[in-house]
Assembly symmetry: C2
């Protein structure tokens, strides 16, 4: 036995004299670059002998090295045998690298560890002296080139059948695609010649309204295309409930195929734009809510929406994408995020992955607001979640001039505390037509900060200002005069609108506090608040605190993570290890049924003020109010 | 913590006070019978408290136990909590048993450990307090009833989709079928109500001439049906070579479907006879030679038969039986035995499993003789194999009155050494029409023992006996006079027939010796010789030694294992652990190419005598010859 020490890692390995340095490196767990399978042809496995005795064919080396390099100890690891104890330096370029990728909204870089990899191998044709079977030859080639151990690679029958013809037709130069599956690996494809650079994957946010797809180059670790389109299921019902009822009456087939069509459209757009063949997409990761995921996979969602609200499946699922009609490589895998319950679906688990809270020591609060809201509180040890109806106010519904984030919608507002005149910005800078949810939060906070409304949300009609007036039914504040609008009407907010907004924000805040009580933490323990979802992306953090939508913490610790569902799907796509944590996250998360928590209603009542009945919970807002009072006085 | 000691095993486990005895038993690794999932309904988990404090609802127990039994400490493990340190006796009837099965031709009993098991579970319907998903509920129920851990069970999409309807339609009483797959388990079927007793499997010997299928009840561990029929591929060519050439010209589809049809016919016959629904067959194990296995699976065998003789695949394969058209349960698995090379196929690996030689310390010799022969030499540490052409003589070809084992064939012969008159028995006791291979071996040995032929196989025409005469071309011996036959011809054996027989037996013996030299063992090291195959089954062990077909060892150590292929398949079917060893056996076996071994021809020449040039290798035969000479003198 001889001892080989590899630098710069100082990894040591004992090996029989006469074995190659490549054997030693592989035994030491170093993934060397050996495209030719160790035949001394590709010249990729260059190492430098720093000390010790080796044997090699000098003549052969002149093709690869100058005299100067040879003097430095350069040699090919696959063609040099160990004769004595050695010190061997491996330059980084001779190792197969795992690349670093930056995903926005997450502090740490994500390693590129896709679950699918391609291996180009040049095999020796069989001879009477080496008549080993085609499969053995191929899998050994893949193993030698840094792939998984041959015996761990399962080969499906349809690929097996193609092996002999492809090997011989390509003159034994082929690219094998290996995917990770439970308990091992799978040879999912075999192609002629070198196609190793063509490995793509897609991360999909399967929303009930919109589908977003990111297309990744899984070799380079970069996004090559993005596409989004509406979920065509909308033709069977606007919301989830309507669609499940449609399925109950008419069967699931149409809804499933509409979901598949919608995903296929997004994938086609993204791959066409990037000039990529969809056959080269080997993996699709999908994050969607519980009902959408059931529908996509053709699993009956009927029992999710009626008492006792039972999904069929909660765990992460890996299925063959082609089995459900996703148009990618015929052996493309599809990974669907796990869910926790009827309301905490794969989209929320993706949010959690996106913000990274499940790996942090500090306690984080994650809030995803739409018509419904979901709140998750936790850290790397524990996690609580709940969901509820926020009412439509925060999305612009049940508010006189509320509207979705379409062109002409006011999305940001500041009110001058002296003149009480608002400044605002609209989407696409058009004349205003209404106010978005984020605009309404700004408006509520600014009205409160300017002391136009009190803690009950009542408008102080005693202030002598033309913008404050009694409207048809309620006191109101004029945000834009008719002449400045696109609709020839004064855009106003009424005391009734404000009441609805306060009810909505009170629900969210009460949910946060309920989870905090459950976990026995106070606002001081919370190191981060993450807003997820389209709405969260535009929210003004300070104003969200002023109105008491969220517990007061240092505003620098509040972050908008945007579309966390697609970000989480991206992370799970490019790093298979992150995927492993998901079931664990879902399993350890406790789901709190708010309607079954008596304290929730109490919290809701206390939260139905600006910002809250207990001002000591909002010291920053308290200070602002004090300043406001002083000014008024 | 309290300590519970289980009798009769004296297994101890520490457990929190208040947990049930069932919890303690499960933690201690004891598989208790809990059909109802521990709800106190089925009354199967009866144990007897021998000492220590417990708590239970006495009223509830009156349903299950008499006062007398209660006095003995009887209770249900699932309904009784641990309060103090306990001694608990578990009767065998409360445990889930692994049964013992005797497979003929193998010394040890084979445990019944099929790779497919069914679990009947009675689940609690979901409630608001327990809204866990259908899948979780089901898999936990299976786990509680002695099945694998819920998180290790993979659920294919088609089964997943059926879960919600089946659970509700059957009122939450279902039977789940769980199969072992690489890296875990798979829920392969879900049925309403209790079908747990209906688990069947088939072991198939896929011969190029005949297909034999054994149907097993995998719950009781017994054979319920056997069937055999011809391989319909015979319409595309009599032998393997002709069929591969047919496939080369016309494609593989027809040959594959004929193989499948042949297997399906055998399965249908066996299951119809046993009154079993083929839907309840969950596993098929197939042992066949390398070409037959390739054809069955639709893998091109063209490269096996031409230089350099390369199979596509050698390893054991697990595929979905329905994918290739085997008519069993739609989720039935098919396991195909691994091969070593072109000639050492899955049938030989099955022979090895059948005789058990790969687990023995002593060295065994396995011989499978047909037109070709295969020889394996080895023990639990090493193994050598070779194959060759025996010529048709041992199967009755190239011998004037040789014939297959059909009615009227002479299969056993004894010659009176005084009168030289033979006694024989024929198949079905009909008048003789010819002689089978085993009859020819008897004949050769008896002619030799009676000194009618010499060590060169020459007939001593000087003996004055009407049965010894000069025929049309060669000297010959009359086995049966025309009047006693069914063909109105004298049934004879000629000197030329004898020459052909000696050539055939010499090949086999030379192969044995070549392997023995390779492994550096002598006949004294050999503790067993196994004859496999139909031919081997009828062979007279002593006569095989007398003619020098095999090395001379104690005849008690020679065994006929009969159809080792189907026996091996049976073993692999009923015990999944035996299956795991197969790839390992195939991998560690060295294949010796006889044509490339110069010593083989020398051995062949030396073996072309009765029994061999070197009589010291056959001391028993030497003794017999001495006696013979004395008698003649």
């Amino acid at each position: 036995m001889r001892t080989v020490t590899f630098l710069p890692s100082y990894r040591k390995i004992d090996i029989e004299r006469g074995k190659t340095i490549l054997d030693a490196a592989q035994n030491a767990g170093l993934n060397m670059n050996v495209v030719c399978g160790g035949q001394g042809k590709c010249g990729k496995c260059i190492v430098y002998i720093q000390s010790g005795k080796t044997e090699f064919d000098r003549q052969k080396y002149l093709r690869f090295f100058t005299e100067e390099e040879l003097a430095k100890g350069a040699c090919l690891a696959c063609q040099t045998t160990v004769q004595g104890d050695l010190q061997v330096f491996i330059p980084e370029s001779s190792l197969i690298q795992e690349q670093k990728i930056l995903i926005e909204h997450r502090d740490q870089k994500i390693d590129l560890r896709p679950s699918v990899r391609k291996f180009y191998v040049e095999l020796q044709p069989p001879t009477l002296a080496d008549p080993s079977p085609d499969l053995t030859r191929l899998l050994w080639g893949i193993q030698k080139n840094g792939g998984p151990a041959a015996e761990k690679i399962y080969v499906p029958l349809e690929v097996m059948r193609e092996i002999p013809a492809i090997l011989r037709h390509s003159d034994w130069k082929v690219t094998g695609t290996v995917g990770l599956v439970p308990g091992g690996y799978r040879l999912i494809d075999l192609q002629e010649n070198d196609t190793a650079k063509r490995v793509y994957g897609a991360a999909v946010d399967l929303g009930s309204t919109t589908i977003v797809a990111y297309l990744w180059d899984l070799v380079e670790g970069k996004v090559v295309g993005v596409a989004s389109n509406y979920n065509r299921q909308i033709s069977c019902g606007e919301d989830i409930l309507a669609r499940v009822n449609y399925a109950r009456k008419n069967g699931l087939v149409k809804l499933q195929s509409l979901a598949i069509e919608s995903v296929n459209t997004a994938l086609t757009t993204a791959s066409d734009n990037a000039g990529i063949d969809r056959e080269d997409i080997y993996e699709v990761v999908v994050a969607g809510n519980t009902v959408m995921t059931h529908m996509l996979l053709g699993i009956d969602p009927a029992y999710i929406i009626a008492e006792p609200y039972v999904p069929v499946v909660q765990r992460a699922l890996s299925v063959a994408a082609s089995r459900i009609g996703i148009a990618c490589n015929r052996n493309c895998g599809l990974f669907a995020f796990p869910a926790v319950s009827d309301f905490i679906g794969g989209d929320i688990i993706a949010d959690i992955l996106a913000c990274g809270m499940a790996g942090q020591e500090g306690v984080s609060l994650l809030i995803d607001i739409g018509t419904n809201f979901e709140v998750v509180l936790g850290n790397r040890e524990w996690m609580f979640s709940c969901a509820g109806a926020a009412g439509p106010a925060l999305e612009g519904g049940e508010v006189l001039f509320g509207m979705r984030a379409n062109p002409g919608a006011i999305e940001k507002i500041v009110i001058d505390p002296e003149t009480l005149i608002p400044s605002y910005s609209t989407i696409n800078n058009l004349k205003p037509r209404g106010i978005t949810g984020s605009g309404l939060i700004d408006l509520l906070a600014e009205l409160f900060a300017a002391c136009i409304i009190d803690r009950n949300g009542r408008i102080d009609t005693g202030i002598g200002n033309p913008r404050i007036r009694i409207g048809a039914h309620f006191p109101e504040y004029v945000v834009a005069w008719a002449k400045d609008t696109d609709i020839n009407k004064d855009v106003v907010i009424t005391e009734n609108d404000i009441k609805n907004l306060i009810m909505s924000k009170a629900s969210v805040h009460a949910a946060c506090v309920t989870l905090m009580k459950e976990a026995d933490v106070t606002r001081h323990d919370i190191t981060a608040i993450y807003f997820a979802g389209a709405f969260g992306n535009y929210i003004n953090k300070k104003n969200a605190t002023i109105i008491g939508l969220i517990p007061e913490i240092n505003p620098d610790q509040i972050r908008n993570i945007g579309n966390g569902a697609v970000t989480g799907a991206n992370i799970a796509l490019i790093n298979r290890r992150e995927r492993k944590t998901l079931d664990e996250i879902a399993n350890r998360m406790a789901y709190i049924e708010l309607n079954a928590e008596p304290s929730f209603m109490d919290e809701y009542t206390m939260s139905s003020f600006l910002p809250h009945t207990d001002l000591t919970l909002f010291p920053m807002v308290q200070k602002m109010l004090d300043a406001c009072r002083i000014k008024r006085v």
